[in-house]
Structures are given as structure tokens and as C-alpha cells.
């Protein structure tokens, strides 16, 4: 056994292709990104000069868009945590309660938006929220609230909230599924014991379900913040960061800097900071999750 598991050639054959692929598509790009981030490159492969930390000082101290993108990510993440997650937990518990065929059917149905291509979702919601023919405005008209009609994604005061609604709708299935899995993992006899103690309904879930779901909840909160930070396709395809910078996110910002504004070096500096922020978030939340896990 030892001999088989020590087979150096096999280890090489098993590990090398994966590591090579990883080096080519993750490590090399990050190193190259680091290189470009110190230069004033306009497009990849063109002449440029070394400008030291120039791009970074500009980003951190003079670029309000960078901070706005981070702020938007935090707001979106909080939106997920405060709105999407409680709803998902509620539905996970209810699905578990209803049981039988309904449990399976509704679980299937609620997940459907999560399997649809982001391009379709973006274009669909652009139409739904359109100021002239969009369903939301037609609905407002039909109930006599026509005065509230709005260019939901085209107005900087409602664009970020509209984005939150779309993303909650699109990501609800995944959230529900994770919490559902957590609820399924809670042993039934705990509920029986608690109901003998006189707890019922909402109180029962507040005392049993929520505390026992805590490990899942902490992981999900981490994921929510990272999802918010990584927001790109949906924004890119609907508002492209606008109007103004009301829906600006780091990934959209760096993409536009590189491919529309011809500030390739600067865009790569955003990339490097983006990676740093993501790793920092993961590190912090891992620490939090770990200290929590020991309590339960």
C-alpha cells in the first residue's frame, strides 16, 4: 500500500496538469497584472514606462470611484444579508414543514431562476423595468399609482436598489438550497423535545432552528459579501455602472478602464487591489467562522 501511494511518477501525472493549468490561468496572470500595475500602459503589449506606485496612490487617494465601488459592494452585501437571507431561511423551514411531493416540487420551482444564463436574466429585467413598456410601470398604472412610475435602472436614486432586487431574485434559489440543506441536517427529535417544553411555531424556530443553522448562516454571510464584491456580469449588461456611478463595482470599473478608457496599467492596479480585497474578506470571514464553529 505504502509503495503504491508513494509512486512518484503517478503523483507527478496526477498533480502536474492541474498545477500547470492553474499556473497558466491564475498565477501567471496575477504576476503579469502586478507588472502592468506599476506602469502607465495604455494597451497590452504597447510601450510604457515604469511609474512605481503611481497607479496605486492615484487609486487609493484620488479615485472616488474606487471607494464608491467598494461602498456599493458593502451595501449590496448588507442587502443580501438583511433581506435575502432571512427570506431564504423562512422558505427553507417552510419547505421542510410542508413535506411530501410539495416539498420536492416547490424546491425545484424556486431554484429555476438560478439555472438561467446571466445574459437572459439581465436583458429580461431590463425589459421588465423599462420606463415605457416595463411591467412594473404598467402594474403601477393599473392600480392607480401611475405617479410613481420610474426609470428604475436609469435613475441614480433607484438603480442600486433595483440591482439588489434583480440579484436577490436571481440568487434566491442558491440561498434557499443551502439553508434547506442545513435545516434537513437538524434532527427531528430536537423539535419534539422543545415542543414538550412548551415552545411552538415561531418561538420554536427562533430557539432551535436559527441557533443550529448558525454555522451555515456564517458561511452564507461570507459568501454574500464575496458575491457582492465580485458583482460583474449583471451590472455590465444592465447599467454598466451607471447612471453616474450609482451601480459601479470593481470588476466593471476595471473592465471599462482596460477596454474602453485605454488605461490598461491602471486597470491592472485595480485588479491587484481587487484580489487583495477578496483575499482579505475571505481571511477575515474564515477567522470569524472558525471561532463561531467552536461554540456549537
Amino acid at each position: 500500500m505504502h509503495k503504491v501511494l508513494n509512486n512518484k511518477l503517478a503523483i507527478f501525472l496526477f498533480v502536474f496538469p492541474g498545477i500547470l493549468l492553474f499556473a497558466l490561468t491564475f498565477l501567471a496572470p496575477i504576476i503579469l497584472s502586478g507588472y502592468y500595475s506599476f506602469r502607465d500602459t495604455l494597451a497590452p503589449g504597447t510601450n510604457s514606462t515604469f511609474i512605481g506606485l503611481g497607479n496605486y496612490t492615484e487609486l487609493l487617494f484620488h479615485d472616488s470611484r474606487f471607494w464608491l465601488s467598494l461602498r456599493n459592494a458593502v451595501l449590496l452585501g448588507l442587502g443580501f444579508i438583511i433581506i435575502q437571507h432571512p427570506i431564504a431561511i423562512f422558505f427553507a423551514v417552510m419547505l421542510d414543514r410542508i413535506g411530501g411531493k410539495a416539498e420536492k416540487w416547490f424546491r425545484t420551482i424556486f431554484f429555476i431562476p438560478s439555472v438561467i444564463s446571466v445574459v437572459v436574466i439581465s436583458k429580461m429585467w431590463l425589459s421588465l423595468l423599462d420606463p415605457t413598456f416595463g411591467v412594473f410601470n404598467k402594474l403601477l398604472d393599473s392600480v392607480g399609482l401611475g405617479a410613481l412610475k420610474h426609470a428604475w435602472l436609469g435613475d441614480s436614486s433607484t438603480a442600486l436598489v433595483s440591482m439588489l432586487v434583480i440579484l436577490i431574485w436571481a440568487g434566491f434559489g442558491w440561498g434557499l438550497l443551502f439553508y434547506y440543506a442545513g435545516v434537513k441536517g437538524i434532527p427531528e427529535d430536537l423539535y419534539e423535545a422543545a415542543s414538550l417544553d412548551g415552545a411552538s411555531g415561531f418561538k420554536l424556530h427562533l430557539r432551535i432552528t436559527v441557533p443550529l443553522l448558525m454555522p451555515v448562516i456564517t458561511v452564507q454571510i461570507t459568501l454574500a459579501m464575496i458575491t457582492a464584491l465580485k458583482q460583474m456580469e449583471m451590472v455590465f449588461l444592465t447599467t454598466n455602472g451607471g447612471p453616474g456611478d450609482s451601480t459601479q463595482f470593481l470588476a466593471v470599473y476595471l473592465y471599462n478602464k482596460a477596454f474602453s478608457a485605454s488605461q490598461y496599467g491602471y486597470a491592472n492596479a485595480i485588479s491587484i487591489l481587487f484580489i487583495a480585497v477578496c483575499l482579505l474578506f475571505t481571511y477575515l470571514s474564515n477567522k470569524l467562522t472558525r471561532s463561531d464553529a467552536t461554540e456549537y
Binding site: 500500500m1 503517478a10 492553474f22 490561468t25 439555472v115
Partner: protein, 274 residues
Amino acid sequence: MKKNTKIMLWLFFLIIAAVQLFPFIWLVNFSFTSSSEFYSSSILKWPDVPQWQNYINAWVDGKFARYFFNSFFVTAVTIVLTVVLSLTLGYAFTRMQWKLRSLFFTVILLGIMIPIHATLLPNFAIFKSLGLTDSYLGLILPYTAVSVPLGTFMLTGFLRSIPKAMEESAVIDGANIYRIVFGIIAPLTAPALVTIVVTTFLNCWNEFIMASTFLSKDSLKTLPFSVMNFTGQYSSDYGSQFAVMVLTSVPAIIIYAIFNEQITKGVTAGAVKG
């Protein structure tokens, strides 16, 4: 649960499902109407004459068949590569004995945390200089690279829960390492592998931003571009635009309907084990 509560819950779920699926119902509905009906004040509208022409436009102008094949090919190759690499990496990380094991494991797991958007720009430059832009490989490589870390992570978790007895008896019977991994371990990890297949499928099939960065040749474009084809010159033809969105969504929904149980099981296993 009391019968009345159950009926109430059923009704509540039905209403929520209808609200949640409403955007699709609306999409399908207006994919059968003409543009003039589209601007009417009604929220859902039975079309005067169902406009099948919209679907013909969607198929032809959306270049549906060509893009479908590209998506299918890229996704299939990515899935095969992801499964093989995740399996071999997962096995090497959990069972085999070598020095750099934990270092390389950490490196691979970094792939879960690093946002692909941050590697987009330099990858574009690297792929361009290697001649990989505008090739199937230019999508297959990054798609596989993104899928392998998560696949490896899931498999290492799964492998740790499998007792080593099977492998030990196989070694006594004279099986070599490749036979053990592909003949014994692969079938044992089938539930985890299927979950990897399904999540990889969903990610690749719907991926847009890498495809739009790395591809400019029309003959290589993937399914999401069918929808994009209708945003320029045909943007006022909403019937056809909606039809192409319906067509694009159908394959993913069918695959999901087939593998729905597997997705739930995979996530459940992952979440319970933490």
C-alpha cells in the same frame, strides 16, 4: 401538521412561485406577440395571432444552431477535463504521500477565492500572445481552471469519508495506482462527480464575460451571444428578442429538471459536512 395549515402553506407557495416565475411567464407570453401588442397597456396578453415568426427569427438571426454546438462542445470538453483533474488532484491530496502536498493544496484552493474578473485582463494578453484567443481552447482552459479548484475541494471532502479498505484489498490483488483511481475510486465517488458535472455544466453553459473577452470570431461564439445578437440592429424587435431568450433558457432548464435531485444532494452533502 394540521390539514388547514397545510392547505394555507400550499396556497402561499403557489402564489410565491407564480410571482417568482412571473418574469419568465411574461417573457414566453410576449415572445408570441407582435411589436405593436408589446406596447399595449396590458400586463399579460393573449396574442391576436401567435407570432411563430419570432422563433424563426430567433433561430436564424440568433445563429442558434451554431452557437448551441459551440456551447455544447466547450462545455463537454471542460466537464471531462474538470472531472479527470479534480479526481486525480483530489486523490493525490488526500491519499498519496508527498512533500509539497499541503502547499499545492493551498495553491489550488486559492482558485476558489481569486475572482476570475481580476485575471481577465492579463489572461487576455497571455492568450493573445499564445494565439489562444479565438479558439475553443481559449475558453476550455480558463473554464476548466475555474472549475477544478471547487471540484477538487468537493472531492477531497468526499474521499476523506471513504474507508481505505477497498484500496488496500485492491493492492493485495495486485492493482496498480491508475487502476485504483479510475477503476475503484472513480465509481465510489460517483455522487460527488455528478455534482461536479452539473455545477460545471451550469457555470460554463451560461458563462458570458470570459467568452466575450476572449472571442471575436463569430463562428466560435457560445449560446449567450444569441441573445446579444438581438441587442444591436434588432433591438426594437422585442418579440424575436424574447423568443431567443426563451430558446436560450430551455436547454439549461431541461438539464436542471433531469439532474435536480443531484444538485440538491450534492449541496446537502457539502453543507452538512461543512
